[in-house]
């Protein structure tokens, strides 16, 4: 191949390649530098947000230890468990909701189908937290913004929106041939059995995608949690905790611990994210063939 290319072209191509490699390397450095910096900071021995050298002068793992031993201002393990529990519950509820709505809109014919889908689309157009203050008032009127009911409120908030987020799942179910359903019904299956024994198994990669995505929601969000949990630190989720570590009162002691916490949260979330991408591509690539 290379032999056919005249000498001048080859030289030009090599210069092009070198320029491209340099360009890509510079880009990667810019993209990775903040993450590298934060990892190094999380091992820094010392206090304060502002330092005079890029790399720390002394290293320690005390920042990680402090996250799990110093509960004076911010109780990191507690927040981690809060978020984990809320994420598990809301992930189960919202996956169930998404599957139900997707199945009904994709496979069944019913009177309110089209109106429901239009309504879901209209609701999605409102800025999400426009209703947030109102949701808070409603939860307050129901007496759910005090004590342990805050957990329940947060779970509801994170899963309530699932009724409108069914479009991806529906799109996937649309690719499953209807003939499979019909064949199953001929064999005497009820629609419930078709749903659980035919449709759901075929949607497996997409279900995994949905489960992880809704599991990640509470870890990433901090607006809802902030409005509902407010100043009650024992109900904070991880993101509010990290946000508060950078508030003026705490930042001096907590900055390095914030870096440690950020690293600890980012690792599992990044892995989960890569998993969702894999599942999504698998699902889209290997769509069910009739």
């Amino acid at each position: 191949m290379a032999k056919k290319i005249p000498g001048g072209m080859k030289a030009k191509r090599i210069t092009g390649d070198v320029v491209t490699y340099i360009f890509l390397s510079v880009m990667c450095v810019i993209w990775l530098l903040p993450f590298f910096w934060v990892i190094m900071q999380s091992f820094r021995d010392g206090k304060g947000q502002f330092i005079s050298t890029f790399l720390p002068t002394a290293y320690t793992i005390n920042n990680y230890k402090a996250l799990f031993t110093d509960f004076n201002v911010i109780n990191f393990p507690r927040m981690f468990l809060n978020t984990f529990g809320i994420a598990c519950c809301s992930c189960v509820i919202s996956t169930f909701f998404v599957l139900s709505v997707a199945y009904c809109t994709s496979r069944l014919k019913w009177k309110m189908r089209k109106p429901y889908m239009n309504m879901a689309m209209v609701i999605n157009l409102f800025p999400g937290f426009m209703s947030m203050v109102a949701v808070y008032f409603i939860l307050k009127a129901l007496g759910m913004t005090e004590g342990d009911k805050i957990y329940l409120s947060l779970i509801i908030c994170f899963s309530a929106g699932a009724g409108t987020g069914f479009y991806v799942m529906k799109g996937y179910m649309d690719t499953i041939p209807k003939s499979l359903d019909e064949a199953a019904m001929m064999d005497g299956c009820t629609r419930w059995q078709v749903f659980t024994k035919v449709t759901l198994p075929l949607c497996k990669p997409m279900i995994v995608y949905q489960v992880i995505t809704s599991f990640m929601g509470p870890w990433m969000d901090f607006i809802f949690a902030k409005v509902i949990a407010g100043a009650k630190a024992e109900y904070w989720t991880v993101s509010i905790g990290l946000f508060n570590m950078l508030e003026k009162e705490y930042v001096d002691t907590w900055f390095v611990r914030f870096c440690a916490g950020a690293v600890l949260i980012s690792i599992p979330i990044s892995i989960l994210f890569l998993l969702t991408q894999k599942c999504y591509q698998e699902a889209m690539g290997g769509a069910v063939k009739g």
């Binding site: 909701f97 157009l125 949701v135 309530a160 900055f255």
Partner: protein
Amino acid sequence: MSNTLTKAAAARQQAANPYSLSAALKNGGPMIWISCLIMGLANILNGQIIKGLIFLAIEIGVIAFLAVPNGGFYWISMLPGLGEKEMQEVWNDNEGVYEYIMGDQSQLILLYGIASLCIIALLVLAWQSSVRSGYKAACLKAEGKKVTFLDDLKSLLDENIHKLLMTPPTVFLAVFSILPLLYMMSMAFTNYSKEDSHLVLFDWVGLQNFVSIFDSGSAIGKQFGDVLIWTLIWAFFATFLNFFLGTFVAIIINRKTIKFKGFWRGCLSLTIAVPQFVSLMIIRSMMQQDGIINRMLLDAGLIAEKLPFLTDATWARVAVIIINCWVGIPYTIMQVTGILQNIPAEQYEAATIDGANPVQQFINITLPYMIFVMTPYIITQFTGNINNFNIIYLLTRGEPLQVGNSAGDTDLLVTWLYKLTVDQQKYNLGAVIGIFTFVVLAIVSLVTYRSSGSYKDEEGFK
């Protein structure tokens, strides 16, 4: 328009469904007419006792809820005035103390009033279905068939499965999305605001809030203009810079002679994988006046004094747009890479034979194809950027803030909405901005959605 559609659909339904409401009222006879008043009576008389009792219980329950003192009717009757009574101090002679008598709370009146109206709407739906169901029971009895309650339950797993599956999501949606939206939207027509201390008692003011926001002479109107213009500038640059730079990088990585394609893409996609609030808070800390970026630039001798990244309006605006590129370019690369690989290779070969150089190939082959395929994506990105709360709030918190303004120089409509409601408690203005944002997004999205393939395919749903 959707109304006429549903009407047409209803007419079609009627032919298919012999147990419709009008058929029931026309052919049902006295028993059905009576059960229009006493829901479920026709079911009970026709042997469907449990079902009938459920309908009856619903009716009694709702009417009891509406009629009791401080029940639904009370709240609805208070809706037009939104409450007048202030909290009062009364001197109690026997005890020798002041006693407080709770006044009206407009906010609760509004919420409960709207909720009661919704419950009445639900009662109407239940009434409809009870009349139909009663008529159906009567017809079946006349034909000598018998449908037991157990059969009805079983049908929930089969032909009526949508009722079973759709109920929980719809209830959640109604209580935690639709009711709050109605509630919030109604606030736009009141003076519910910390201003003039209308936090406990407020009134309907009609379109006054809309007028003051769209009046460029008033202080709030001027700010609205500024924020709106910045929101549009931001959305434009954030969308198109991301798109063009992302496409550029994707094409470079896609060069035939470049090795380790996966490695480059992987490095760049780390900003997608790490939670956004973490990476943005890190960047915020790095860009502070005394942060590491200024420190490094100073040490390297590139600048003489610290750059005001987040404290000067222009610097901050440029900074958020650039940081948004840092966050957004990997997304574009992800989207574009697949599309680039779909462009038929023959087109490029033919172009090479015709002597077209890479730039000409890009302009005449790659770009038209990309724009054709990516238009819906770009428009979604544009609307997403108008609503991009995270990047602004976490990076600059809308600052720098000029004295006397309620919106900072980098505030978008959404972050301003957040500040107006959560921090400043000017709920009425927040609601107006929310409605306005919705209208803008709705227009943009409807136009895109209507012309997109998925909508047209949906029409073909059998």
